[in-house]
Each structure stands twice: as structure tokens, then as C-alpha cells.
């Protein structure tokens, strides 16, 4: 069968998460996209890592959707099947529980998203700046869509002149 293993994984996920699953797509062999409700997030990650063998976290992608920010966790099964697990958080109150307790390797990816999107990962051991300079103005998250290259330049210069 073409996507046998992929469909098996999706079936197991449906069994555990039931109606918390918003969307599932298997566009081709070795690729799965799953979007779930926020409240089932930790449970889903735990299940994927501990029971289904998705031990490798490739990275975490942030996407600005306007009112919300989407976080996509790219998890790999035996280096082969790449499952992208998506959740959305409110831009006004972007809080997500950390997954560093389940996957220690998530530590820098969470810091990266925190830096560039302003998402707070609750329970992360140290959410210090990772990428942006120490002098970078607070509350300016460059990968959010409201920041264009033009107004980003504005905020940086303002900071350097000490006005902010």
C-alpha cells in the first residue's frame, strides 16, 4: 500500500485525540499534516513521542495568521515520516506549554520562536534571547506580519537613539 504506515499513524492519533483534531492531510508518502486544538496539545506530543515513536523534533515553525499565530512542530518517525503538528495561539496572549520535558532537543527551537514571534513557552528552563541582539526593542517581533522591513528599521534606529 502506498501510504499504509501513514494512515495507520493517523488512525491511532484519531483514536486518542478524537474531536480535538481539526484537520488531517497526508499529501504524499512520508508527509503528514495534523492540526489540533490547543488543549490536546501536550497529550498529542506525549503520545506521538512515547507511543508512536516520533522521537526526533526537526524544528518548530511559527506562522503569523493575522489574529493568531500558528506553531508547527515538525516531528520525524525513525528519520523517515515527517509529521507536522499544528496548533494556534492568540496573538494577544501567546502562551504555550513547553515540550522540553518530553523532547529535551526542543530547547533552542522554542527560544527561537520566542525571540522572533513573541510566543511564551510556559515551563521552559531559560527563555533568554537566542538570535536577536540584546539591544533589540522589547515587543518587536520581526517575523510577525505587522513588521515590515521599513518599520523594523524605524524601531531599531529609535532604540539606538535612546528614545524608546
Amino acid at each position: 500500500m502506498e501510504k499504509e504506515k501513514e494512515n495507520e499513524i493517523v488512525a491511532k492519533l484519531r483514536e486518542i485525540l478524537k474531536e480535538k483534531i481539526v484537520e488531517v492531510r497526508v499529501p504524499r508518502k512520508r508527509r503528514i499534516f495534523v492540526r489540533i486544538e490547543m488543549e490536546a496539545f501536550k497529550k498529542a506530543v506525549k503520545h506521538l513521542v512515547e507511543d508512536l515513536g516520533f522521537k526526533h523534533l526537526s524544528t518548530i515553525t511559527g506562522v503569523d495568521l493575522g489574529e493568531t499565530i500558528e506553531l508547527i512542530y515538525h516531528l520525524a518517525y525513525k528519520g523517515s515520516i515527517e509529521l507536522s503538528l499544528g496548533i494556534t495561539v492568540e496573538k494577544k496572549n501567546p502562551n504555550v506549554p513547553t515540550i522540553t520535558d518530553i523532547i529535551p532537543g526542543a530547547i533552542l527551537y522554542e527560544r527561537e520562536v520566542h525571540d522572533l514571534f513573541g510566543v511564551t513557552f510556559e515551563g521552559h528552563p531559560d527563555l533568554a534571547r537566542l538570535i536577536l541582539p540584546e539591544k533589540w526593542p522589547r515587543d518587536v517581533y520581526p517575523l510577525r506580519k505587522e513588521y515590515t522591513l521599513e518599520n523594523l528599521h524605524g524601531s531599531i534606529f529609535k532604540d539606538e537613539e535612546g528614545e524608546k
Partner: protein, 390 residues
């Protein structure tokens, strides 16, 4: 044995000559590293934001410039992502050419690394030898693509340049020379005391830690984990080419040297096979400028390990979001683990062991927190200290 006071050593970030500066804050007890805090971003160029401002065609050239060593890995990953969004596939001949360029790149990157690793342990003769032989592969690149670094081979829908039949004997001749030399270096790495004394049981990364910390590439394979995107999630023509995934279970810097040397030999075999079996036909298909709405994940085994790109399109000529995660970032948590419990003198070679774009180490200051005494060591002074201790 504890000396009772923890000393903090900031390490990096500035280096005037190399790319990718990084900063590490080491806490040491006597000569033993007890804590490591990484800080990256000194070379952050905002490329992901820049992707959103440029057309898909312009972004090929931007992707090529993410890295100066594995430039081809990034364009392969990028063009695959956009091809998947467009629903087109590169023609068979183009997929073989992608493999040939990718494996030549692996040889050039790994041999560059072997040279640097030799230099870090004070074995400069080996450094000179390896880099002399590396010129062979650089010359092949120049012959095939006209360039030594940015080969600009990939484009959306295939490759921009064919490898004509009169070039093939020249490539094969180069490969024969490289094979002879790398077999020799593999033997040197396994028998030469200068290397063994500095790398055996240094920078240990146990298999469980390697998996938990999501290490990638040769770093992961040198801890005995058989993961390779080329075999596990085949792209280009890798599903049609037989090859071995090299692993080694020593878990130390020596294993990382051996894995990379053997991978170069394996790459030579892959290129030979690809040259023999390359199908005839066209090398690219025409694609539209605008990309329909969608999202995709593209993965490639770059010389340093798994490279992953995520692309989201919105139906226009520019991407909505483009995310890049290069293998060096994936290996930093594992690197911190390797350094723990090691000697200050081993920091350079362990750091070099993951093959970061090696940038950060020319200036460092040592601070004793109790007396607030500060001093600065250059990379050369640290190396002198290294040699005295050993």
C-alpha cells in the same frame, strides 16, 4: 575532584575571518566544564523575512546564499519545496545531476572539515595535505558549474546545467585520485597517535542523548544511530542508487572523523554509479511564476545533517512564509552535552567535532567570579595552553 569555585569563561563571538560567529559561556570547575550556555544570532541576516519579500525565482539565489559551504543543499531543499507546491517533478536526468552535485559538495565539505579538525589538534601537516587534495573537487566544481562555491545548478523544475559526456572521464579521474587519498586519510585517522590521543573518548555523546537532543547528520551517526535523510526519506535520485549509511559506535570525536572519512568514500561510489546510470533526456521543465496556495515540508541530507525547509504559499509570486532550519542549530544542544565534563583544552576540537561553520573562537576572556580577575586569551594562546596540558 572539585576546586570549590566555579569560573565563567565567555567564549566568542567575534572572528574577523570566518562566518557564523557564536558565543558560548562556559562554567568551569578547575579544568572541567560544568555548564555551557550557547548564544547564537551574531550573523542573523533575517533571511526568512527576506524570503517573503522576493519572488520564487529570486529566492533560488537567496537560498543559495544561506550557507557558503552547503549552498547546494539549500537550493535542493528550496527547489524541491516549490516543485512540490507546484505539483511538478524534476526530470530524471536532473535528479541524477542533483545527486552528483550534492555528493561532490559532501566531499568538499567533509574534507574541509577533516582539515580543520586536524588543525584544531595541532596536526597542521594533515591539514595542508587534505586541503591540497580538496582542490581536486573544487576544480571539478569549476569545470561543471563555472564556480567553486555557488554552483547555481538547481532551479525550480530541474537543473540549469547539464553534465556533458566529455566531462565524465575528467570527473572519474578526479574521483580516482580522491579515493586513493581518502583511503589513506582514513588509515591515518585510525592509526596515527597524534589523532588518537586527542580524539579518543573525547566529547562523548551517548546514543540516548543524541536522540533526546535531536542531533543530526554525522554527529548522530557517530553515536551509532542509523539515520540519514537520503536513505530514510529519499529525494532526487537517491531511491534508485544503492549506498550504505555509515555509522560508528565510538560516540567520540574520533568516530566523527571516521564517519566523515568513510562517507566521502561512499560519496565517491554514489557519484560513480550516478555517472554510469544517468538517464538521457531534458534537464528541466518550465514552471509558472505564481505558486498556488499550499504548504509543504522539504528535507535534504546536507553535509552536516538533516536540513529542513517549510514553505507556505498564498497563490502569488512570493511565499507567505518560508522557514529554514540548518543542521548546525540542530546539533548545538548535543554539542553542549558533549562539552560537559570535558577539559577546557578539549573545547576547540569538540566544538569543531559537530562541524559548525566554525567561527567563534578567536577571542575569549576568562573571568574568576570570586576575585573578579579578568583576562583574555586568543585562540592561539588557548592552543598553547592545550599543548602544555596534554
Amino acid at each position: 575532584m572539585s576546586y570549590g569555585s566555579i569560573i565563567k569563561i565567555p567564549f566568542g563571538p567575534q572572528h574577523p575571518a570566518l562566518k557564523e560567529p557564536e558565543h558560548f559561556l562556559f562554567e568551569v570547575d578547575g579544568d572541567i566544564v560544568v555548564n555551557v550556555k550557547p548564544r547564537i544570532g551574531y550573523n542573523h541576516r533575517g533571511i526568512e523575512k527576506a524570503f517573503e519579500r522576493r519572488t520564487y525565482i529570486q529566492n533560488i539565489y537567496l537560498a543559495e546564499r544561506i550557507c557558503g559551504i552547503c549552498s547546494d543543499a539549500h537550493t535542493t531543499c528550496y527547489t524541491q519545496a516549490i516543485e512540490s507546491l507546484l505539483g511538478v517533478e524534476a526530470p530524471p536526468r536532473a535528479r541524477y545531476i542533483r545527486v552528483i552535485i550534492a555528493e561532490l559538495e559532501r566531499i568538499h565539505s567533509h574534507s574541509l572539515w577533516v582539515g580543520i579538525a586536524a588543525h584544531e589538534i595541532g596536526f597542521d601537516t594533515l591539514f595542508m595535505y587534505v586541503w591540497r587534495d580538496r582542490e581536486t573537487v573544487m576544480n571539478l566544481f569549476e569545470m561543471i558549474s563555472g564556480n567553486r562555491v555557488h554552483y547555481a545548478t538547481n532551479t525550480i523544475g530541474g537543473v540549469r546545467r547539464d553534465i556533458p559526456s566529455q566531462m565524465i572521464p575528467k570527473v572519474k579521474k578526479g574521483l580516482d585520485l580522491l579515493e586513493k587519498r581518502f583511503k589513506y586519510y582514513l588509515n591515518v585517522a585510525q592509526t596515527e597517535q597524534t589523532i588518537l590521543k586527542r580524539t579518543e573518548n573525547v566529547g562523548i555523546l551517548k546514543p540516548k542523548d543524541a536522540v533526546d537532543l535531536c542531533a543530526v547528520g554525522p554527529t548522530l551517526r557517530a553515536s551509532g544511530i542509523k539515520n540519514d535523510v537520503r536513505a530514510d526519506d529519499p529525494y532526487a535520485a537517491y531511491d534508485e542508487i544503492p549506498f550504505h549509511v555509515i555509522t560508528h559506535d565510538g560516540c567520540d570525536v574520533l568516530s566523527r572523523i571516521i564517519v566523515r572519512c568513510e562517507e566521502m568514500l561512499e560519496s565517491i561510489n554514489i557519484i560513480r554509479y550516478a555517472l554510469e546510470h544517468m538517464p538521457e533526456g531534458m534537464t528541466r521543465v518550465r514552471v509558472p511564476l505564481a505558486v498556488p496556495e499550499g504548504e509543504t515540508v522539504s528535507r535534504v541530507e546536507a553535509p552536516r545533517g538533516e536540513l529542513i525547509h517549510y514553505a507556505k504559499s498564498n497563490g502569488t509570486m512570493k511565499p507567505e512564509r518560508y522557514k529554514v532550519r540548518s543542521p548546525t542549530l540542530g546539533n548545538i544542544p548535543a554539542l553542549c552535552k558533549m562539552l560537559l565534563g570535558g577539559h577546557v583544552a578539549d573545547i576547540p576540537i569538540v566544538l569543531a567535532g559537530i562541524d559548525p561553520c566554525f567561527a567563534c573562537m578567536d577571542r575569549m576572556s576568562f573571568i574568576d567570579v570570586k576575585t573578579s580577575k579578568k583576562w583574555v586569551w586568543t585562540m592561539n594562546q588557548l592552543k598553547k595552553h592545550t599543548r602544555k596540558v596534554k
